[in-house]
């Protein structure tokens, strides 16, 4: 911020009139005008597959729209919507605070089914958490991985979960389309985590869980975590420390799960991509983040299986 030489600068009086479309039961709200992208509150029913109209990036700063024109404009905009919703089917989950976008798929939709899916043979003897999980059964476990803004008070914007439904893995991604949806993300996630007995993460004891708890506290959202927590980092280290150069998740993915990623987005770029998305709404660069998150969670499942073989 260089204020000394700037023309105008922060003292410049701004003309700002925030024309905000009202929420209506039928009509998808038109975009919020002026600097803010629209809120997540729309009239689109939860089950609707229509891409949420309110996130179109291109009509910002337009002149206020008259009610009659709103419907036409909304439909126009709906067809041109370029949010991630256009690429990742899903819907909204709503509570009194707002909404969050939830994308759900089966693993068999994205990968060829393999025999070892869901298989937990036997845990090593000296790993009590692994043994307990094997005894309980994989259906009681919830895998979790987060994508966040990277800094102490930055938000969590993507929470990826995976659970075993007996025959396939169900993959879910809770996505805050803008900063205002984080609270609802946490609430929605909590609905899922409260059902599970065992949380499974990679480095979650140091990072993901404290992070979530911190953000939940800030937003005053009650967060119900599963009673038990298996952090795969530690058994993985114990098992493969001598065989592998390091125990980073991607190293395990390559060497243990034998999967190679191509075109992955580097972790340090993720926060910037999110901020860009909120500002511009361009999904193309953000989709790889979803993909990255998805692969992380899937890999965790495979690592667990490898540990219990």
């Amino acid at each position: 911020m260089s204020f000394l030489h700037e023309e105008g600068g922060p003292l410049k009086a701004r003309l700002s009139e925030l024309a905000r479309a009202r929420r209506s039961a039928v009509v998808p709200a038109s975009e919020t005008l002026d600097p803010a992208p629209a809120s997540g509150e729309t009239g689109v029913p939860h089950s609707s597959r229509v891409p949420v109209a309110s996130l179109s990036p291109h009509s910002s700063r337009a002149t206020p729209v008259s009610p009659e024109a709103a419907l036409d404009l909304a439909l126009d905009v709906a067809e041109n919507a370029l949010g991630v919703e256009a690429f990742l089917p899903g819907g909204e989950w709503r509570d009194e605070r707002g909404a969050v976008f939830v994308h759900e798929r089966l693993r068999s939709d994205v990968e060829r089914r393999r025999a070892h899916w869901g298989q937990l043979d036997a845990a090593p003897e000296d790993e009590p958490d692994l043994s307990a999980l094997c005894a309980l059964g994989l259906e009681h476990a919830l895998f979790l991985d987060l994508e966040t803004g990277g800094l102490a008070s930055s938000p969590v914007f993507l929470a990826g979960t995976m659970r075993w439904n007996g025959s396939d893995f169900v993959l879910r991604q809770y996505f805050a389309r803008h900063y205002g949806e984080e609270a609802t993300l946490l609430a929605a996630l909590s609905e899922e985590t409260r059902e599970a007995e065992f949380l499974v993460t990679f480095n979650g004891k140091s990072y993901d869980v404290p992070f979530l708890r911190g953000r939940a506290h800030v937003h005053r959202v009650p967060l119900a975590m599963p009673p038990r927590h298996l952090d795969l980092l530690h058994p993985a280290r114990r098992r493969w420390r001598d065989e592998l150069p390091d125990c980073r998740l991607q190293t395990l993915e390559l060497r243990v799960c034998r999967r190679r990623r191509t075109g992955d987005v580097p972790g340090e770029e993720v926060p910037g991509l999110y901020h860009d998305y909120v500002r511009h709404g361009d999904p193309y660069r953000l989709i790889p983040v979803f993909h990255h998150n998805l692969l992380d969670v899937i890999t965790m499942g495979d690592v667990l299986g490898a540990l219990c073989r």
Partner: protein, 845 residues
Amino acid sequence: MQAEPTRFLAGADRAREASASLHDWLAAHGRRPENRGAIAHWERLPSRPPRHGDLTLPLPPPLAESLESRGITRLYTHQVHAIEALRGGLDVVVVTGTASGKSLCYHLPVLERLLEEPEATALYLFPTKALTQDQLKGLTRIALGHPDLLRRLVAGVYDGDTAPGTRRKLRDTANVILSNPDMLHQGILPAHSKWARFLSHLRFVVVDEMHAYRGIFGSHVANVMRRLVRLAAHYGASPRLVMCSATIRNPAELAEGLCGRPVTVVDDDGAPRGEKHFVFWNPPFSDASRVERRSSNGEGCALTAGLLEAGAQVITFTKSRVAAELVYRYARDRLRRIEPGLEDRIRPYRGGYLPEERRKIEQALFSGALRGVVCTNALELGIDVGGLDAAVLIGAPPTLASAWQQAGRAGRGGDPALAILVAYNDTVDQYLMRHPEYFFGRSPEAAVIDPHNPYILAQQLACAAYELPLSAADVAAFGPQMADILAALEEAGETRTIDGRAYWANTSFPSARVNLRTISDNTYTIMVTGAGAAPPPRPGNVSDPGAAARDAPPARADMPEGEAPARRDRWGRGESAARGADAGANVIGTVDAISALELVYPEAVYLHEGETYFVRSLDLEQKTAFVERREVDYYTQPVLDTNIRVRGERQRRGWRGETVILGDVTYSWQTIAMKKVKFGTRDSIGYHPLELPRLTLETVGFWFAPDEAAWAAVARAGHPPFEGLSGVRNLFLTLLSMLSMCDPADLGGMIDSSNLGRPALFVFDRYPGGLGFAEQGWSRLDELARAAYDHLASCPCESGCPSCVGLPVLHPAQQQDPDLGHGRAVPAKEAARTLLSHWLARTDA
């Protein structure tokens, strides 16, 4: 509270007797023929017994017992008032003298609360790390006085030096955390979710040395406090505020400015005072021309040595590290000649010492092994050295509050103490010499802050948005301009407003970019290149910028023997204060953009700690000046082309027939050339045009154009009017800096005709957006004019001198040699006096 120093040495008794005769010695010294006239003033401050009070509800027994075990059976009036007010749910500012037991005003309520409510927490904030350590000791001492307290208290210092493991423990378990505003701003608030426990039970926030939070620093800290309160409220807490301040003119105003809500002033000082003699020593003129005076360093040194020889324990304060070294060396040489052995029992003391070294010095002073210390202002605050017999202040410190704190080092409760202020031959010191009532009367110094300065606010709002999204509910705290500023931040891509809440929308970490001591991130780094790189930085304190700043002495050519009064924050904080990751061995300082083009332009000679550096290049993009150490026999002066333009008016008032306007101005300047001047002879040996950009500053100032009658009065008396107004300007700038506790470099002044069509005097803040100094001047113009007149009337010079109307080009550039004003008029003393007396004779409209 300070324990009685224990004394083990035989010399102790001699010292006790000595103090009674110290002022006899001084009186005799002043009567010597060569010192005639040196004693400008002798103030005897009589002793005063303690005044106690009683709490309506006594302290809980563990606390009372702990105090008793340390000899405290009753509390002073101000302690009682403070505790009662806090118990009653009020916020408090305690304004009492040094060593008045101010810290009990906060330790006691905090400990009392901890006993009632085990989950309660308290945050203590201090402006320096050294003070923080001392107060932790003080708090722990009280807790040690009773097992209940010891069990309950979990306290620790949380600052840049705290180890990571300790940090986590403190965050998770401490109930009293001692820290500083910088750490709060950068380390605690941005990571507030890790502090949820501490913040949600926060009951007290203690701000000690409140008067240190003024100017830019204070304006930033005011916003940091609002961020703290906002976050505490988010976690459900509403802490009480306890502030402690040295005596200033406007403690309530400053306190309320810092915290944004009304504060109760507690100033009925019940602490006892020993008798103290405060003497003003003005070095006599060095010759009959009565322009130059004898060296203040030399005078101060002679006084120090004399006092030591008379058996006293003395602390001597100087304004710069270089001066401290000089005084120490001269005193040592002299003592070696006169009383061999004694020279080993004085030591220099500077900021940047490691804690163990400091402790050794403190212990040595306590025990009496060390007789004298020569130091910079590093020892001014807190630091438990007990009481000494005498304090010598060489050069008036930047504020009266500092002067009283330094003088407060002398005094052992019982024996009369002696403080001597030795004046430099500059306007401020000479003014004090002639106007002791300024010093000893009700404090004229107002601490000024402007928390809503848009440039400061923009930086702080970025930090606030990062912590928690901002909404309309925050306007009450951050002011009506919040919305405009957020809009600007949004345009710049820093924030994004969604549903009326402004979120941080960026991967950067705003608090890391915001320096609480500067107004913008436009700071230039000064880096040494080539052979002769600067010595590695001291383990300095980022949160103790004052020490480093005062230790960086530029030479002013109008000072005899190159003595250099210290400059403060704007000038650059020395190597220990180089920002962020640049603090490597070859960064010797920083300077802000406003000064950079006047100080470190290419081929400039830059003075740092008494050594000359040559500026090889100035990189405007990287904001770095590359210098190399070089012995040169000349120095350089920038030649500036300046311009001022009125942008808008805020208020106007009538003052003695003139109309004085407070408003927004744009000041622009450009360094167009450089002059080379030989040391010593002051011959001009070169003049070189320069190509440097023109800078613009949008700020706040006041101005007025003297009317026809005023000019006529000057003309009638046969004096040059423009030069008269120029003299008035110089006086106003110096006096205003005294009244508003800022550095003269923080103000600018110009005479300009282009705006009003006739010559007008402009006085403005040299910071974008203004900081409230010029506004102080506008509202206290009468005081300024009177002080200016009195000063002129009592100046013994013939037609003007550095200590009254000053010199033609009054410029904040520290290395300016104003004698060589480029063809500008020499301010005329009589003309200035005529103008001032003309105005003061008129009644206020």
